[in-house]
Every structure is written in structure tokens, then in C-alpha cells.
């Protein structure tokens, strides 16, 4: 679940000057989604394809110049599913094989591989995107990709205020701890839940005040337009190399 986030929004972007950093956000978004889609569609037995994908992923990691440790840390988010994948051969049905005296489902082993490979590669690409693209840039990219302005604006506000709310929550928790509250059982959850309720009220009231501030600066319900710098053709060509390359790998493997 969401509780495993080590970094809040402001720490997602890792500043740098790599090629990935400098690419325009809309190009990166499309490329990442396309590559992950191709990977997800690849039949799991095409090991060569996955080997090539892995090489590609390594190239991406290297290009971002961010450090493997950051990737590994953020990959921890898929751990619950890694656990599920690891259990599957023990509970899966179908033909089985004996490994070290234990009976494992053959299909189950393939399934483990399938989940690990696709989850790992998909998450890696996603991390590459979020680490090299600052939030305002990402939002501009989405707008240029014709995502409805209203939706982008809602996302923008959400990201802007997450850190504020998390800090408020932290302060509420500290004041509870300072008064000796150390809950371990469900029926002791009341103060925490009450502070969550209080947080909702404060958040809503803040939302109303922000609305007033927007009105005061001439807001009419339509978010003002954003700088129109678009990705150059050259950028699109470079960036689409990735999904096209991946698609070629897939086609070669399947055909």
C-alpha cells in the first residue's frame, strides 16, 4: 500500500544535467508509456527479448546518471508483489518439477519470472521518468499531450499540498506522542483517526482559502495557458527510438 513511500513529492526529482534531464517531458512520457506497454505485452518465454530489454533498461539507467542505489531504493515499492511471485511456484498448479527436494510448478516458475521481469522493468522506466523530470515540467508535458487542463490542475494542486499536509500530520502525531500515546491495537486508533478527521477539515478549509486567492487574482474557472515550448522533431525521433526498438525486439521474438 501507499505507506512505503520514503520520499515525498519534493524529493522525487533528482537534479542533474543528463540527456534524460534535458529531454522535454512530453517526449519522455510517451516514450516511457510506450516502452512499458511493449514490455508488458511480451510473452514471457521470449528470453532474448527480455535480455535486450534489460540491456536497454541498463542504458537508460546509465543515461540518467542518477546512481543504481536510487533505483534500488525506489524499486522497493514492488516488494509485496515480488513476495507473491516467489510464492507462486509453491502453490501453483499444473506440471511440476522437483528442485532441491521441493515440488515446484513449472508454470508457476514461469509466472514468477513474468511478474519479476515486467514489474521490475516497468518500475525502472517509471523511476527514470520521475527522477529526471521536475514536477512543473511533467505537468506542462501532460498539458501539451492534451490531458484535460482541469485534471492537470487538480494533480498540480495535489502535489503542491501533499508536503504541507504530511508535515501537518507529522506535527499532530508528534504532539500525540509527546503526550504518551503509543497505540498498538486497533481500538487505540481513535486519536489518530480523529487527527485525520481534523486534517480533512483543515485541508478543505485551506482549499476554500486557496480558491479565494485564485479568485482574487482573476481566476474564472479556466487555468491560464502555459508556455508553449514544444518538443522538437529531433527530440521526438530520438526518444521514440526506445519504444520502436522495443517493439522491433518484440516482433522479432514473436515472429
Amino acid at each position: 500500500m501507499a505507506g512505503a513511500h520514503g520520499s515525498t513529492v519534493s524529493r522525487l526529482f533528482v537534479p542533474g544535467n543528463s540527456q534524460m534531464h534535458r529531454l522535454s517531458p512530453e517526449a519522455k512520457l510517451i516514450a516511457v508509456v510506450a516502452v512499458v506497454a511493449v514490455i508488458a505485452m511480451t510473452p514471457r518465454r521470449e528470453m532474448i527479448a527480455f535480455a535486450l530489454y534489460a540491456l536497454g533498461a541498463w542504458a537508460v539507467i546509465a543515461t540518467t546518471r542518477i546512481g543504481v542505489l536510487t533505483y534500488l531504493k525506489r524499486l522497493s515499492v514492488i516488494i509485496p508483489f515480488v513476495m507473491f511471485a516467489l510464492i507462486v511456484p509453491f502453490i501453483g498448479g499444473g506440471e511440476s518439477v522437483r528442485v532441491l527436494g521441493v515440488s515446484l510448478s513449472v508454470d508457476g516458475l514461469w509466472a514468477t519470472w513474468n511478474i519479476l521481469a515486467k514489474a521490475g522493468l516497468g518500475a525502472t522506466m517509471s523511476i527514470a521518468l520521475s527522477a529526471t523530470t521536475a514536477v512543473p515540467e511533467l505537468l506542462h508535458g501532460m498539458t501539451r499531450l492534451k490531458v484535460p487542463r482541469l485534471l492537470v490542475a487538480i494533480i498540480a494542486f495535489m502535489l503542491r499540498y501533499i508536503d504541507v499536509l504530511v508535515e501537518q500530520l507529522g506535527r499532530m502525531r508528534r504532539s500525540m506522542v509527546a503526550r504518551g500515546h503509543d497505540p498498538r491495537w486497533l481500538w487505540q486508533v481513535k486519536p489518530i483517526a480523529s487527527s485525520a478527521g481534523a486534517l480533512f477539515v483543515r485541508s478543505y478549509e485551506r482549499g476554500e482559502r486557496v480558491h479565494q486567492a485564485m479568485l482574487a487574482r482573476g481566476y474564472t474557472g479556466v487555468m491560464p495557458t502555459v508556455s508553449e515550448q514544444r518538443a522538437s522533431t529531433k527530440e521526438w525521433l530520438t526518444v521514440l527510438l526506445c519504444p520502436v526498438g522495443a517493439a522491433l525486439v518484440l516482433i522479432m521474438a514473436v515472429v
Binding site: H5, V77, I78, F81, L150, M158, L159, I162
Partner: protein
């Protein structure tokens, strides 16, 4: 749960993506109609709240912690359309920025965590509200139980998606039983927490709770309290009953299933397999001792979910129209 890329077959990913796309687009439009130009700041801050609330470690037992899903809570607080939209935004941001949930899994993740919980939860809430007194406590109680139900619905929805698009040789029965069983327990936590949060909000700003909009000022003042401990105990008991019933269906206890099958004339014949192979994943249907019964369970669960979610949508649209003409 934020499933990663490739967890379900591409066919399921695509179909659920289309459903989610349609729902979220409609959500943006409906939210605009309900909130007007307050839509952006309110939905944005509410999404931040849900995100923050999901990060809170709620104690469950002996120091282990659980987390809020929040779909039903969002629906009761903000109304089902805005609630669904808000949680969808959270799911989207978690996938794109935090790699929590695959980009290609957004369809089913959004469907399970935002759409089913918000609309299913709202529908359950509206139904339960009728059984409860028209007071603050009634709203809190209905909201709490609805939240518990929404989590179970979410698990059932995922199981049905597994039936169509499993990528591992684990039978639908097992997945359904395990998912729903575990989520019945999670649902207890969700119910308790949702109830307490609702209670806190009702105490200071009841006007912010959409689910209480029908209450008059006097009804709001009635402070008959549902005792907390009895509530927890009652929920646990209810959950255990539900859990036992559900697991009877899905338990790979061939005797129980066979009995039901023979009694009702569902005996398997060699030709019955035709049903399964085209639509359903071989993995999900293999190893089930009686396919017809399992598919019947899936069918019933699917119908329940569809009815509740659909009912939630209809109820939401109707009340939206009523408020517009009022």
C-alpha cells in the same frame, strides 16, 4: 493494491483502462458541475489529503500497522463522483511518480481502488443509511460499514479480473478466497478508521460531509453515540460471519463444493470445459474441482459489484441533477 506492470493479461489491462478512462473523464465533468470553479483547489487538496491519509500507520494488532484505502471515505465526504475522481488522481500520481502501480496496470488499479470503492461504497452507504436513524451517528455508522464493504468489493473485483487475465497458475477459487478473506479483515480496519474520521469531521464541520447533506440542523445535533468497543466487536463478528460464508464457496474443500454441485445438478461433464477456454484464463480455471460452481460464484460476485457500482453511479447522477434543478 497497486498491481505492477504485466500482473494481468494485456486484454484485461486494455479493457479496464478504457473503463477507467471513461469513468475519470465523466468524473472531471461531473465534479465541475458540482463544484464549479472550486473544483480545482478542492479536489486537489482532497487528493492530497487522501494521499496523506494513506500514509498514516494505523495500529492493527500487536504493533503491526495497516493503511487506509479511502475510496468510500472520499465518497461519503465529497460525493461519489468527486470521491472517485480524487482517488483516481491519487492512484495515477502514485503510478507515474512513485512507481507504486504499473503504468500499464492503471486500468485495473484505478478500477479496483477508485471506481469500485467510491461508487460501490457510496451505494452501500445509501442503502445502509436507510436502515440507520437520521442522525450524525447514523451517517457515521453507515459510512463505516460501507467502507468495510467497499474494500471487500475491491478484492472481489480484482479476483474477477484474475479470472479473465491471470498470469500465474493459481486458480480463481484460491485467489477469490484469499483476497476476499484477507480483505474482510482489512475491511474491519477500514470501517473503524472511516467511522472515526467521519465522526471527527461531523463533530466540527458536518456541512463538509456530503453523505450528511440530507440531515437538518436539529438532526445533526442529536448525539446518541454508538459505543466504540461494541462497534469494533460487532464489526469483527460480522466480518467473521461473512468470511466463513465466502470461504465456504471458494474453499478448495471438494466435499463442500461437490455437495452443493450434486444437490443442484451442476455435476461436471467432460464437455463443460468449453465454457472456460475462450473468455477465461486457463490458469484461473485450471485446478478448480467444479468449474460451474466457481463461475457461478464469480458471476454472482460480478453481478453484485456491477449492481452496487452501477447503483452508486445512478444515485450520484440523480442527486446531482436534483440539486441542479433545486
Amino acid at each position: 493494491m497497486h498491481a505492477p506492470d504485466g500482473f494481468l493479461e494485456p486484454s484485461v489491462a486494455v479493457i479496464t483502462a478504457v473503463i477507467a478512462f471513461v469513468a475519470v473523464s465523466a468524473g472531471v465533468r461531473y465534479a465541475g458541475r458540482e463544484l464549479g470553479d472550486r473544483q480545482v483547489p478542492l479536489a486537489g487538496v482532497a487528493a492530497a489529503f487522501i494521499f496523506a491519509a494513506q500514509m498514516v500507520n494505523f495500529p492493527v494488532a500487536a504493533g503491526t500497522t495497516g493503511h487506509l484505502v479511502g475510496g468510500a471515505l472520499a465518497a461519503v465526504l465529497l460525493g461519489p463522483w468527486v470521491g472517485m475522481l480524487v482517488v483516481s488522481v491519487v492512484v495515477l500520481v502514485q503510478a507515474v511518480l512513485f512507481a507504486d502501480g504499473g503504468l500499464t496496470a492503471l486500468g485495473y488499479n484505478t478500477l479496483n481502488m477508485a471506481i469500485v470503492t467510491a461508487f460501490g461504497g457510496w451505494a452501500a452507504f445509501v442503502l445502509l443509511r436507510k436502515l440507520m436513524p437520521d442522525t450524525s451517528a447514523g451517517v457515521v455508522g453507515a459510512g463505516a460499514v460501507a467502507a468495510g464493504i467497499s474494500v471487500v468489493l475491491s478484492a472481489a473485483a480484482f479476483s474477477i479480473e484474475w479470472l479473465f487475465g491471470a498470469t500465474a497458475p493459481v486458480a480463481f477459487d484460491t485467489v477469490f478466497g484469499a483476497m476476499v478473506g484477507v480483505h474482510v479483515l482489512i475491511g474491519i480496519g477500514e470501517a473503524v478508521i472511516t467511522g472515526l474520521v467521519l465522526s471527527a469531521v461531523m463533530a466540527s464541520r458536518p456541512d463538509l460531509v456530503r453523505g450528511a447533506a440530507h440531515l437538518s440542523a436539529d438532526e445533526l445535533k442529536v448525539t446518541s453515540r454508538v459505543g466504540f468497543r461494541p462497534f469494533v466487536i460487532g464489526s469483527v463478528f460480522a466480518a467473521v460471519v461473512v468470511g466463513v460464508v465466502v470461504s465456504q464457496f471458494a474453499a478448495s474443500n471438494p466435499d463442500g463444493l461437490e455437495r452443493v454441485a450434486i444437490d443442484n445438478g451442476f455435476e461436471e461433464s467432460a464437455t463443460d470445459h468449453a465454457l472456460a477456454s475462450i473468455w477465461f484464463s486457463d490458469y484461473a480455471t485450471a485446478g478448480i474441482s467444479n468449474e460451474s460452481v466457481s463461475l457461478a460464484v464469480a458471476g454472482v460476485a460480478g453481478i453484485c459489484i456491477t449492481l452496487l457500482v452501477g447503483g452508486g453511479v445512478v444515485s450520484a447522477s440523480r442527486s446531482a441533477r436534483r440539486r441542479q434543478t433545486a
